[in-house]
Symmetry: C2
Subunit: 223 residues, 2 copies
Amino acid sequence: MVVSQEVGVQIGVLGTGMVGRGLATKLAEAGHAVCLGSRTANNEAATKWAAGIQRATHGTFADAAAFGELVINATPGAASIAALTQAGVDHLAGKVLLDVANALDFSRGYPRLFVCNDDSLGEQIQRAFPAAKVVKALNTLNAELMLNPGGLGTTDHALFVAGDDPAAKAKVKELLRSFGWTQIHDVGGIGGARGMEMMVIAWLGVMNAVGSAMFNWKVVTKA
Amino acid sequence: MVVSQEVGVQIGVLGTGMVGRGLATKLAEAGHAVCLGSRTANNEAATKWAAGIQRATHGTFADAAAFGELVINATPGAASIAALTQAGVDHLAGKVLLDVANALDFSRGYPRLFVCNDDSLGEQIQRAFPAAKVVKALNTLNAELMLNPGGLGTTDHALFVAGDDPAAKAKVKELLRSFGWTQIHDVGGIGGARGMEMMVIAWLGVMNAVGSAMFNWKVVTKA
């Protein structure tokens, strides 16, 4: 798999919300062929999205997963396992599955995670789809910045990746670097998703503190 | 309460581990009068510590809490409620209680928190000692850097504070600024401790990634 802009990759993006469409748009603009997948074949947002963008198609979760050499889970965390099940275990087998979802649950009136601490959404997905190569990344920042690190006026800030398959992580890092990311901290196996997902509760607190979602973490090491 | 170096404050530090002694040393060096509190009056580490440092005394948790205008909880998270109970509810009433502890539990062979997500150690402490003014801070970084932000060769990195009492938070921020901290993000009421404490799982992952505990978070906002 080559992920440079010269030779585009076929990417299936699952989820037609702000995150899914945002990622799909950036990926198509960068020269990749993107199929945006949704629960139904005639999803209005996906149809509208695909009509306006080159190298863009849309279809069901299964269509998108079958299309992708790399598949991105950009569905809401609470719906991710169901969406990936619809996408089809066979369509995910052997592929890099980039999981950007968060286990957020707002049903109790405050932000919490429906899984954390002793498990994570990334791990749940890896267990449910053992033949997929799950890589957790991009869940720690605002959708607008995910493939646009320069959106902060500097690229001096960080991403994190976790996953059990080193080659799959390498491919995701290559893809991320092609979008300008320079600080990518590899926090180990898919168990590293726990910390990455738990950071999101801190992220929401900082969002209130700085009054904007346009910020990101950086890891400052000893100069 | 004035926390400048010119007029020192009486500070009780609960906990004689690396964090407690590290904080107590820095505070005493900065001109504050510090009483280091431990479970027993004749704690060896505390006795040795106090002998070598100006403006330093030691005693029981109750002695230290009675001494302090400001009290710092630097005990292990799992022992904090018991230590603060020994310190005495009356000795904490009306005072700023700076809680730097983490809810870490290594008993299962991997780092986890014994409370998180729907609650936090900071909130548990505030509920157990309602007359204390609990401020969560300094739990998100290595003890060596807590009162020594320049230890990274730059002070361009961040702290977080949470607490229900604005005046108490202001006092803690003033103390932190006196040690060189310039980026202090106020994440709201003591409920903000949830995110701050959950970040610690991510911190451990990053520690493995960068191969050192000498790092800290920064919040990069739009330039």
